[in-house]
Amino acid sequence: MPVTRVHDMGGRHGDGPVTPAPQDAPPFARPWHARACAVTLAAGALGLWSIDRARHARECLSPADYIRFGYYEKWIAALADLLVATGAVTREELRGAPATPSPLASRRLAAADVAPVMGRGSPYGRDGAGPRFAAGDPVRTRRPARNLYVSGGHTRLPAYAAGHSGTVIRCHGAHVLPDASAHGLGERPEPLYTVAFRAADLWGVSAHPADSVRLDLWESYLESP
């Protein structure tokens, strides 16, 4: 239900057909898409925010902006918002005032480090408590889908899957909890599970009876049914 944001669109009606693309379509449809992608990754490498905080910055675009902006427009808008929020740039600089050299320049990603940094990534598995649930266990997702720490905060339980019964099919060990990480509350790792739901339970009789939807959900999103 919409105790959530416009990004949480799984199941929404009213969108038109999907338009496939050639298998060999170039990855960047416009030169500025490539620049937007590269600037975002390079700025992300400064280490000023987690991936969860970056996602939340995109989600916090106004609903009108979120819907009318293209993918990389969302990225760039959220990047500007994050840079100001972290103090890396000022509003005046965004407005065009002369740029002041940053004390964070020592963290700048060098060209020579691009390959190793991108090739390393940043794994999200952590040491943490053992899992409460095992494969085959029935679980129910919490409801409404919301961040328990911050009202309107980031969470990765889609609204369409809140309050539903499913079955654990896999445990991935403890992973960084986005609900905390997005808000500077530390990593608070929790066991992460893949949970399978009957499509007909989520969507009603219009779903094919054999179909399922599987989501990756943290332990605090789940309870025993």
């Binding site: 590269a38 990765r156 179909d211």
Partner: protein
């Protein structure tokens, strides 16, 4: 924190998106926060080096190397790392094998999570509202828009990428390819077939 700050700083940038990117890039370079040569290196990486050829090599090997398939089933992250495929948006990999009775389809309803290390940058349709809104609720209609019509008896498992696990679909190996080597097999594996919106190419129609 940008959490519901309704005076969004991004509105201070020029409205045209290309100019917006340019303005931000220029500012970050001037402040010493971004190295232009690093931008070029990133673009080169994702425009030319990391793409669906990686995933196709994994699929072809899974089809033709039973020991590798076993390792892929046990720990796909480690198995694809053997082939050099590691990194950003590919830190935790799970392979999903299509069978005669189950077809797998991958989506990210909340944003556009995608296995970059294996498939590169996601195509436009994967990031579209229409795909994000409809793939989980109505996967068979979405598949039909890609020209894929499954038998009614085939179950569709939709995988919504809500965490940092990235999914690679292993399409069914086409009939009549028993004698094919891994390189030729990889030529049958399309990007869409590894997301689940397509099937592997029919060898009869393959160039």
């Amino acid at each position: 924190m940008p959490h519901d700050d309704h005076d969004h700083p991004h509105s201070l940038l020029p409205p045209d998106p290309a100019l917006r990117v340019k303005a931000l890039e220029t500012l970050l370079v001037e402040k010493g926060l971004v190295d232009p040569a690093a931008l070029d290196a990133i673009i080169d990486t994702y425009a030319h080096e990391v793409g669906p050829r990686n995933g196709a090599a994994v699929v072809a090997r899974a089809w033709s190397d039973p020991a590798f398939l076993d390792r892929l089933r046990t720990d796909a992250t480690a198995a694809v790392a053997e082939m050099g495929f590691t990194g950003r948006q590919g830190e935790h990999i799970v392979a999903l094998e299509n069978t005669a009775t189950v077809h797998n389809l991958v989506v990210c309803t909340l944003c556009s999570c995608y296995p970059w290390t294996l498939l590169g940058i996601p195509p436009g349709w994967y990031k579209s509202d229409a795909y994000r809104a409809r793939a989980a609720r109505d996967p068979r209609a979405v598949l039909s828009e890609f020209g894929v019509v499954l038998p009614a008896a085939t179950a569709v498992d939709v995988w919504d990428s809500t965490a940092e696990i990235r999914y690679l679909v292993i399409p069914r190996r086409p009939e009549g390819t028993q004698e094919w080597g891994a390189d030729a097999l990889a030529g049958l594996v399309t990007r869409d077939s590894m997301v689940g919106t397509g099937l592997a190419r029919d060898p009869g129609t393959c160039p």
